[in-house]
Amino acid sequence: MTLRLVTMTKLAQWLWALALLGSAWAALTMGALGLELPSSCQEVLWPLPAYLLVSAGCYALGTVGYRVATFHDCEDAARELQSQIQEARADLARRGMRF
């Protein structure tokens, strides 16, 4: 059993974990375990997959926004590069290349 885990692919691991958590959630929501959870806990439990998806989406969006805002621009290098591109275009056009 241990050897099989070592050779399990990442996809298989994710699907395994998903199946485990999913079945746990389904069992709890449908009351298949016969536990009498307080109604407020049940109210929190059944939208849980949707909640996790929305939180993951918010995290992704926030991370992207943060990285965009804190990206290290190099304005001088950008301007230098643009002028070099113009030089190259002029040079190649002179030698007869069409754009």
């Binding site: 109210e43 969006l61 926004g65 990285r67 965009v68 804190t70 621009d73």
Partner: protein, 84 residues
Amino acid sequence: MATGTDQVVGLGLVAVSLVIFTYYTAWVILLPFIDSQHVIHKYFLPRAYAVAVPLAAGLLLLLFVGVFIIYVLLKNQKVTKKTQ
């Protein structure tokens, strides 16, 4: 540091994601534990919408992505037909 519109857009995205996260967390996690007569329930839709709205939004997103892919594929097809 990024400048100008980049910073504004980036920080805007962060703000939007935080707002959505806080509202949704309050809706799904906190509200069931608050007395049903409390005034705060006025600011939240019935609980069923907590799953229906993200689901609808997700389907809309998939629709948009699909339409975009088809549009790009058709455009490429037309271009290759022209150059043939």
